[in-house]
Amino acid sequence: MRHTISVHVENKPGALMRVTSLFARRGFNIDSLAVGPTERPDVSRITLRVDCEQHTLEQIEKQMHKLVNVLRVTELEPGESVERELALIKVAAPPEKRAELMALADVFHARVADLGADAMVFEITGSPEDIDSFEELVRPHGVKELVRTGRIGLSRASIRRQASRRQHVLS
């Protein structure tokens, strides 16, 4: 099963390496990874997407808690969080196809980031599923290059954060 884990780390040298090294050492695979600043300059947030069993996930969380630079580990539960990705897609676009592609982009709220003689670059932000769908639809036109960021996420503003299910163990 896939899980999204959000890790608050101190913005210090080596913090990212310590987290990713932990995954490698314990044999856990990372599907995607995004790192960036947060509302606090001294804190960065690492969002990891992993495919593992619940038992493994608990083990990963507990191991990460032991890292000195790690401030907080939370799982972003589907339905209780907002998750987004950004993709840039360079699609073959001869003049006669442009209108069709732009209509498609419109449906997905994708933007044209650049336009060339025979190709255009779309920029799309959305849930990973939306991006999958858009990618699917433009693929027949000929995708020349594609890059996606790792996903980032936040718990929903409309839902109060749940107490950790494993509070008794971690406290």
């Binding site: 101190e10 040298p13 080596g14 050492r25 083990q59 808690h65 401030l71 406290s171």
Partner: protein, 577 residues
């Protein structure tokens, strides 16, 4: 505040942390710190002959004293030579601060002479590490290093200090507090979980206390004894937990795992309640995990939440400092006892004692050779009842025989490499233990293979006036490997023969300024060992033993604990020879 150099700041920090001895070897990138030693400090520096030796000495010091061990090395090869000791300390949760020199800041990343990214190399085997970037960081980095090494689950940390930072000027002020927002080791076990644990213990008819090294690190041995005696619970101590409970106590029932006696493994595997205290269900203890103690409810007491459910699911986990957790469990049990729910373990205790009578440790006492077990038994006999003996071991057959035949009644008197299984650990660890406990007689029970990995530290023992007694259980083989080849590879011995006589260990000892003895018969054994023990200077006893003696019982790797192979007079003589 005092003006000084970064190098001085490192030593002032060690002094402020109460470090009285550290172990190391100087080199180019750490010269300024060694110059600070020369300019004066209260910290005694023990000069090792190899950085790995310095690392194991610091570990032996930490294990014998309960304090943080400190090792120092230069950049590059000096630092990489420390890696084995760091990995060892990581696996066995030994508190260790390693200070390494690094090339000058502007040279980092240029493949400069003796440059190595040691913080990168050690990331998977340290609790935390720092590459110091500014001289002003030194006081709080050192403070944090000691704090992290000894709080929570103990372990190694590394501080890498570039040479130009050692030479830079600083206004030194040592902080009183650490500022580590991400480091929050558990402070108390949860009261509700402790109540649950006590209830389960009160209800159990066949409980076993499965005691690991965490009980020693957590300074919880008195509390453990109180709990065991209060509820009459049998105690089994792991290799790392040896000494956490008096081994001559009527409630002590041996050591679990691959070479543990049958009665200990029976007790663990047939129990209805396992109370794991600072132990981690290591594969050498459990054998085949799915077949381990199938009928047992598990209470897991540990300072490290990540150990809970890592291998065996815990029915009742309690995460917290063992000293408090075990004491609170006892307090809760007293309450239950007063409410009319007394202990009901007597039949179980008798059952385990019966197993012990029925399946004692045995070995053949016939044949032309001195038996390795007889060597350890003789050492035990000569030191029985003494409270000033510390044992260290290498790794292999001799280590298992030491576990089986040495009796430790006090904490921190059995110092061995458990998790990493580092051959060569014993001798330098003994030197470190002697530095921690100058009053003690420190005996290293070593193998001939192990001895040859770190024997250069005899020079350290002799010249630093840290006398130790090394007893080499010399079977002329990499004995444990030989045993596996014998038992699982149809006795095709491959690259395991070291020979009894090269090197001539007694002469090697003499060359290092130590006393050397050779013994090969049971008649001379006790006399030689007694002399070596009473000599007051470093001595090496080369005990030439049966080259093909195997260590029993044995649970083959991956097998269920109850499928152990036992010593059989005829099998040993015939099939295994």
């Amino acid at each position: 505040m005092a003006k000084m150099l970064g190098s001085d700041a490192v030593l002032r920090a060690l002094e402020a942390e109460g470090v009285d001895v550290c172990f190391g070897i100087p080199g180019g990138a750490i010269l300024p710190i060694y110059d600070a030693f020369a300019r004066g400090t209260t910290v005694r520096h023990v000069l090792a002959r190899h950085e790995q030796g310095a690392g194991h000495m610091a570990e032996g010091f930490a294990r014998a004293s309960g304090k943080v061990g400190v090792a120092m090395a230069t950049s590059g090869p000096g630092a990489t030579n420390l890696v084995t000791a760091i990995a060892d300390a990581w696996m066995d949760s030994t508190p260790l601060v390693c200070v390494t020199g690094q090339v000058r800041t502007h040279l980092i990343g240029t493949d400069a002479f003796q440059e190595c990214d040691i913080t990168g190399v050690t990331i998977p085997i340290v609790k935390h590490s720092w590459l110091v970037q500014h001289v002003e960081e030194i006081p709080h980095v050192m403070k944090a290093a000691f704090h992290i090494a000894r709080t929570g689950r103990c372990g190694p940390v590394l501080v890498d200090v570039p040479r130009d930072i050692q030479e830079a000027a600083i206004d030194f002020e040592y902080p009183d507090e650490v500022d580590l927002p991400g480091w929050k080791p558990p402070r108390r076990g949860h009261p509700k979980q402790i109540k649950e644990a006590a209830k389960a213990i009160a209800a159990a008819e066949k409980p076993v206390l499965y005691v690991g090294g965490g009980t020693l690190n957590g300074e919880a041995t008195a509390e453990l004894r109180e709990l065991a005696e209060l509820w009459r619970i049998p105690v089994v101590t792991t290799l790392m937990g040896k000494g956490a409970f008096p081994e001559t106590h009527e409630l002590h029932f041996g050591w679990p795992g691959m070479h543990g006696p049958k009665w200990s493994n029976f007790a663990m595997n047939k129990s209805d309640l396992l109370i794991a205290c600072g132990s981690r269900f290591d594969d050498r203890v459990t054998g085949k995990l799915s077949a381990f103690a199938p009928g047992a409810t598990v209470i897991h007491l540990d300072i490290d939440a990540a150990e809970i459910g890592k291998l065996r699911d815990a029915d009742i986990p309690v995460v917290g400092p063992l000293k408090q957790v075990i004491a609170d469990v006892s307090a809760e049990l007293r309450r239950l006892d007063a409410a009319g729910a007394p202990s009901k373990t007597e039949a179980w205790l008798k059952q385990i004692a019966d197993w012990r009578d029925e399946f004692p440790l045995r070995y053949s006492k016939t044949g032309e050779y001195l038996k390795p077990q007889a060597v350890v038994e003789a050492l035990q006999g000569l030191t029985a009842g003494r409270d000033d003996v510390i044992w260290t071991t290498g790794v292999g057959q001799h280590q298992m025989w030491a576990m089986q035949y040495v009796r430790c009644d006090r904490p921190r008197t059995f110092i061995t490499s458990g998790g990493l299984g580092t051959m060569g650990y014993g001798l330098p660890a003994a030197v470190g233990a002697k530095a921690a406990r100058p009053d003690a007689t420190v005996v290293c029970i070593d193998g001939d293979g192990c001895f040859q990995m770190t024997c250069q530290e005899l020079a350290t023992a002799v010249l630093e006036n840290l006398p130790i007694v090394v007893v080499i259980v010399n079977n002329g083989y990499l004995g444990m490997v030989q045993q596996w080849q014998n038992m699982f590879f149809e006795d095709r011995l491959s690259q395991v023969h070291l020979t009894h006589q090269i090197p001539e260990y007694s002469q090697l000892a003499e060359a290092y300024g130590a006393a050397g003895y050779t013994v090969s018969s049971e008649d001379e054994l006790e006399g030689v060992l007694a002399e070596a023990l009473s000599l007051g200077r470093t001595a090496v006893v080369d005990a030439r033993v049966d080259p093909r003696e195997q260590c029993f019982p044995m649970i083959p790797a991956g097998a269920a604990a109850l499928d152990m192979i036992e010593f059989q007079e005829e099998t040993t003589e015939e099939a295994f020879r």
